[in-house]
Structures are given as C-alpha cells and as structure tokens.
C-alpha cells in the first residue's frame, strides 16, 4: 500500500491512507474478493471525486471494488464502520430544517452532550411524541436527530465492551415500542379521512409507515455503530459486526434474517445454474452430422462442404429421487436443496421427492400444479405424514419403509440424493437399504449439512451409509450446494 502514496492527491494524509488500507483488508476478511488491480483502480478513482462528497466517495469505492451485487450489503456495513465520521452527511443536514426544527435540534444536541447521557433536554414522553410527529410527517432531518437522542437516552452504551451493537439496538428499540407507534400512525391515518379507508388504502398507508420505521431503525443502528467506532476504533467494530456473505451462510445455524437473505439469494443462483446446465447439455459434445445443414452451408463455399454442421446432442436426462430428512435441525437444509432441485427440474426427466423424520412420505405431488415452491414447502411441513413413533429422526426405519414401498421404482437411470445429518438417535442403521439402492441406481449421493469434522461423532452414522454411496458431500452453504447440483446436471 505504501507505494501508492505518490498517487494520492493532496488532502490525503497518512491517516486516510491507513484507513483505506484497513478498509480493503476488512473487505477481504468479509469475503469480498478485491484484487490488487481493483485496489489500485479504487485509489485512482477517489482522486477524481471530491472528498467531502461522501456518497460519491462511496460509489467510487463500490464501483471499483465490489463486482457482485450480493456483496453490496457487506460492503455497506464495512464502509459505514470505516468512514462514518468522515463526510458532510453527519452534520450538514442540520442546516436544512426551518427555524423550528433547528431550535429543537439544538435542544437535542444539548441533551446529547449533557453528561451521563440521560437526556435532560427532553422527557421520555416528549421524545416519543416528537418521534411520532416526525414519522408522521416524514421529516428525515428531525428523525436523524431524534434517533441520536434516543440512542443517548436508551442504549446505555458502556465504553470498551467488545460487542457489535445488537444488544444496544435491541434496548433502544424496546423503549421506543415501534409496533405501538405503527398502530398509532394507522389510527391517525384512519381518523384523517372522513369515510373509511378501503383495504387497499390501508395497506398502502401501512407500507409507507413501515418503510419510515425501517429508515428510523437503520438510522439508530448506524448511530450506534458510529459511537462504537468512536469508542473502540474501526477495526475492532468491523470484526464484531462482520457477517457471512449470503452464499457462505451455514444452513444449520442461520438466524431468521439470514434465512430471509438466503431465500433471496437462492433465486438468482438457481436461475444461473439452470442456464449453465442447459448450455452444458447443448455444448458438452457434438451430435451426429447434420447432412442437410452441411449442404446448405456449403453453398457459400462453392459447393465444397468446408464447414460440417452437427445436430444438437440430446443426451438423456437423469431421473432424480430426493430423500430428505426434515427434522428440526436439518429442515432448512432440506428446504433449500428441494427448492434448488425443483427450480432446475427442467434439467431432469423427472424429480420425485420423499421426506422423512421417522416415518416417510412421498411429496412429489405438492410440487405439481404450483409455481410457488414456498407454498409446496409449507405443505410439506404441515401435511406430510412423516411421524411414525415419536418424531425423532430414525433413518433406519424410514429407509426400510422406503425400500418396501418405492424401492422397485429405482431404475438404472435414477440418481438418488439422500439428505440429512445421519444423526440416528442410536436406532438401527439399516444401511443395507443404501447398499441395495446403489446396486440398482445409477448414482447414490449423500449430502450432509454438518461440517465434515463432526461426521461420525455422537449418534451420527453417516460413515455407515456413505460406504455404500458413490460419494458423500459436505453441504453447509449455498456455495457448496450449488457446486454439487451443477455436478449433478
């Protein structure tokens, strides 16, 4: 980095350079691949933007270093941590408001700087009331200031604690009771019109208010971050708030927010996968000579067949049978795998799916006649008959039943996918079923959402099954799942 120093414009002191170096390092730690050339491009780019224009500065860095939209959120977090104190954004807004707002702001800032952070300038009720009015009017400048006051008052931040701020956010939001605020806003919206709101109008109003509340939440979160950075420095905070990229989120331990992120990420991923597989199928090898087309093309070379044409190959498509454990711990893994397999089901001649806990049930029909995979998954969770005795995973019994009822339908074109962590609660493994499957089917694969180092520990008996499979794969995140499914197509 130090050799870039000459390329930097005046106004960049060593401190800024160090911040940038730390920023890039943190981006890489967060999993965003920033190459050396991209780093240099970024340095070149920021020479051209005015430093005081924070958003231009941000987009200059983003355009040169983040080349995948899925990484945008991670970038934004890191950017906020490293550059939250710089730029005009923080103070300038205060000049915008009219006299009234300015007076209130002054009062608030006074409260903020008052020792102990108890917010003497405003009582709790006044704060809540002002917040409510600001939300109702959509007054961004005031909201920003109020968010600051709320953090001062409620977050109870303790200097030096190595946390990422989630707890402070929770404490602040609990005091503000935003759900209650939303209801009050809706009530006022109702009161404002003489006749009743139609349902559509009510919905639109609610959406609008929710988006304002979201903006407030974000404002509070970034205010907390700002203070954390001021307290402990950017690097420490960045480490605490670092989150995995969507494709690296562990299926088994995803939080609710992360599951939402996963659901969003899976759609573009499967679309890409389907295109890739379709192309592979078409271009993988050449079909037989297309005589008619060859003759037609030969006309442009005077009848000499210089450019032989081939038919598109039509290789046979595999038939897929998915047998998935949907008990608590691995349910979301099964969900994403099923979703991915069905999203590219056009690449297979047929997909059949079975789910089990200790009993097993076929759920292929749930996916028929609906475009909405989410809906099908919901039906699986509510309707499928998968409990035999006690609702604890019993792979042995499930496989045995499967073999009795559907075993004969496995043919030489079938690929069987077995999904689960193989934590069998010390029941009998019945691994002979997998051995029999492997004899009849084209391939049998085991996908395990646990890290490989946990396999065959405790009640996990994946080794006993894997011995009979073509291969067993660790499948903890979208990246690994995608790689496997591509190999399958």
């Amino acid at each position: 980095m130090s050799d870039d120093l000459t390329a930097l414009p005046a106004g960049f002191d060593g401190g800024m350079l160090e911040t940038l170096a730390g920023f890039v390092t943190e981006l890489r730690r967060a999993g965003i691949p920033v190459s050396l050339t991209e780093n240099l491009d970024a340095m070149e780019a920021i020479r051209h933007v005015p430093l005081e224009d924070r958003s231009a500065f941000k987009y200059a860095l983003a355009a040169t270093m983040v080349k995948n939209n899925a990484h945008w959120k991670a970038f934004e977090t890191v950017f906020e941590v490293y550059f939250s104190f710089r730029g005009s954004d923080y103070r300038l807004r205060e000049e915008e408001g009219d006299g009234d707002v300015e007076a209130m702001l002054e009062e608030l800032i006074g409260a903020r700087e008052g020792e102990g952070g108890s917010g003497e300038g405003l009582s709790a009720e006044e704060l809540a009331e002002m917040l409510y009015r600001a939300l109702m009017d959509g007054n961004d400048a005031l909201l920003r200031a109020l968010a600051r006051a709320a953090v001062t008052r409620y977050a109870g931040m303790e200097p030096g604690r190595p946390v990422g701020g989630t707890y402070y956010l929770y404490r602040t939001l609990r005091q503000l009771d935003l759900d209650g605020v939303l209801e009050r806003m809706m009530a006022e919206a109702h009161a404002q019109v003489p006749s009743d709101l139609t349902e559509l109008e009510e919905r639109l109003a609610r959406d609008e208010y929710e988006s304002r509340l979201d903006a407030l939440r974000r404002e509070i979160e970034s205010e907390i971050r700002r203070r954390l950075v001021a307290d402990r420095g950017a690097e420490a905070v960045a480490r605490a708030v670092r989150k995995p990229l969507p494709e690296d989120i562990d299926f088994m331990h995803a939080s609710r927010d992360e599951l939402v992120a996963l659901r969003k990420a899976i759609a573009p991923l499967t679309r890409k996968l389907a295109v890739r597989l379709a192309r592979k199928r078409r271009h993988g090898r050449k079909g037989p000579l297309d005589f008619r087309s060859t003759v037609r093309h030969s006309l442009s070379t005077g009848g000499v067949p210089a450019d032989p044409q081939f038919r598109y190959p039509r290789p046979s498509k595999p038939e897929i049978m998915v047998i998935a454990d949907i008990s608590g711990s691995v349910a979301s893994f099964a969900r994403f795998t099923l979703q991915m397999v069905y999203a590219i089901s056009s690449q297979f001649s047929r997909v059949r799916s079975f789910v089990f806990i200790d009993g097993i049930d076929e759920v292929t029909d749930y996916f028929k006649g609906t475009d909405d995979i989410g809906h099908a998954i919901h039906r699986i969770n509510t309707e499928a008959d998968v409990i035999w005795v006690d609702g604890h995973s019993d792979y042995g019994h499930a496989f045995e039943t499967y073999w009795e009822r559907w075993g004969k339908e496995i043919s030489g074109k079938t690929t069987v996918l077995l999904l689960g962590d193989a934590r069998n609660n010390y029941h009998a493994s019945q691994s002979w079923v997998v051995a029999e499957m492997a004899k009849k089917a084209r391939h049998v694969y085991w996908l395990n959402p646990e890290p490989r180092s946990y396999w065959d520990t405790g009640d996990s008996i994946v080794g006993q099954y894997a011995a009979h499979c073509d291969s067993a794969h660790e499948c903890r995140n979208l990246k690994q799942l995608e790689r496997f499914v591509e190999h399958l197509g």
Binding site: D41, V49, A63, E202
Partner: protein
C-alpha cells in the same frame, strides 16, 4: 489512457443534470459511476433486474454527449466475425479473378497485400467503435449471453481500446469511447472481464425516484395518481413473486390507467389491470389476493 483534458463531465452532478435533461433520472450511484468511467477511461458493467433502464442509460448518455451509439447485441454463438471484423471473402475472390482475366503481370505478393487491405475488411460493431473519428458510445448488450470463451474477444478492447488484426496489425482507438456492458446476470461473468470494468448495479428505484420517472415519462398524469401507482408497485414488489414488476411495466400500467380514464386506483381497478404489471398467472393471483387484504401486522 486517462487523459483528463478529454473528460466530458466536470462532476457527478453535471452528469445527473445532463441526464435529467434527456429524460433519464439518474440517482447518485448512476451519475457517480458514469462520471468515473469517463474520468478513468474504463468501461461500465451494468447489472440489475430486467426493465430498470440499463440499456436506456447507454442510449441517454449517447444522446447527452451527442455521440453516436454503436450497439452490439450479444447472443449465444456470437463470434469474432460478428463482433469484431470479417474479411470480405467474396470481394477478395472477385479481386483475384479480375487479376487472372486481365493477365497483367502482377506478382502474387502484390495481390496478397492488396486483398488484405482495409478495402476488403468488413467492420463489425467493436472495430467500428474503435475506428470511429467522431465520439461514440459503445453498448455491448446482454453480455452474459455469450459463452465464457467468447468473452475473451472483448478483453483487448475493454482494457486497451485496440483490436489486433493479424494481417493488418493493431488498430488503436482514435478516441476513447464510453463503453457500457449490460448483463441480466444469468451467469457469473469471468473475473478477467469484471476486473476491467466499473461495476454498477441498477436496482428498482426508490419510491420518490420512481414517481418522478412516472411523472416525466407519462404525460398528463396527475401527481396523486402517480403517487398511488408507485406505492402500489412497491407493495407488489415486496411480495415473493416469480417476476417483480419492472420500471417499464410501471410506466405501462400508468399509461393504461390514464387511457382508461381512471384517476383514482381502488382495489377493483387495480385487480382488473394487474396483467399489465405482472406476467405470470400465479403472480397475478397472489398480488390480487394481497391487495385486497389490508396487510396483516407482522406480515
């Protein structure tokens, strides 16, 4: 490569105002990246959902700078002879035959030199953009449709603004064109390509910008109708749909409502015209159901 004197814009805000002038409403990121692309002499890779104005951005920038727009539409199977250049085989053949008929004592090497001259070269979009004397904007549309191997064709142009023709030598650009590559993200583009470009993701606009777009593009629409339209569209986009409504579909819907003489959208009229906004039956049903419910708390 970066000749500052040749820069077209002074600041991001100049870009934004200029684009507004040609009826393209850019946000901070769009204006900022276009500005940088000009300053750094780098191509822009524009990604985002369909119908958010990726192609339109290139067209508008061309209009703004008064440059000629040269467009290369990518498709599977695109090759050198369609993208870069091709020798005019038939004309070359004629040239050789003419020589034979005339029986003049031409040396073969003369003919060879002659038939591989610029006269027999058919320029395709990429070479044309490089050789142009006047300012041009090069648009390489839907670059994700070509195979990974074909991407390599673009690399020399994108980083050095030149084309190497074995028989002729290297043709370097007379001026650096602004280059836009658009991608619908149906596959991951190669690292080499991404590295050479500035990256710009155009997402659905926020509610204020979308309203402005509707007001600008749909003449005679009232402010309150536009407000209602973009709010409903936002609600619909928040649902899990196969295909969320794009900006162009929002505009179509606005025009439809205007034509039907509806100046206040209620649940009924919205439901009847939803097919303009959404293209899948399952999406339409879902949206119709959602719009007539009031949006339960904790949705």
């Amino acid at each position: 490569m970066t000749d500052v004197t040749a820069s077209r814009f002074d600041s991001p805000s100049v870009v934004r105002d200029g684009l507004r002038h040609v009826d393209y409403l850019a946000d901070d990121s769009i204006a900022g990246v276009v500005f940088l692309a000009d300053r750094l002499g780098k191509p822009i890779l524009v990604e985002g959902p369909a119908g958010t104005g990726k192609t339109q951005l290139a067209k508008s920038v061309a209009e703004l700078t008064g440059a000629r727009l040269i467009r290369l539409q990518c498709y599977e199977g695109l090759d050198e002879s369609k993208a870069l250049y091709e020798w005019n085989y038939k004309k070359q053949l004629l040239r050789i035959q003419a020589q034979r008929v005339g029986e003049s004592a031409g040396e073969w090497s003369d003919i060879e030199e002659d038939i591989f001259s610029e006269e027999f070269l058919l320029t395709r979009p990429l070479l044309e953009a490089i050789r142009a004397d006047e300012p041009v904007v090069l648009l390489i549309d839907e670059v994700d449709r070509v195979e990974v191997e074909t991407e390599a064709l673009l690399l020399e142009i994108l980083s050095d603004y030149q084309v190497s023709i074995p028989e002729l030598g290297t043709v370097a650009a007379k001026q650096i064109p602004l280059v836009f590559l658009t991608s619908n993200n149906t596959r991951e583009l190669s690292e080499a390509l991404k590295r050479r470009c500035l990256f710009l993701h155009i997402d659905y606009p926020d509610i204020a910008r979308e309203k402005e777009i509707v007001l600008t593009k749909v003449g005679g629409i009232t402010d309150s109708l536009a407000e209602q339209i973009v709010r409903i569209v936002r609600s619909i986009r928040s649902l899990e749909l196969k295909k969320a409504p794009s900006v162009s579909e929002t505009l179509d819907w606005a025009r439809t409502l205007l034509l039907l003489g509806i100046d206040h959208v209620d649940a009924e009229s919205a439901k009847e015209t939803l097919h303009v906004l959404l293209k899948y039956q399952s999406d339409i049903e879902k949206a119709a159901k959602e719009l007539s419910s009031s949006g339960a708390p904790g949705r």
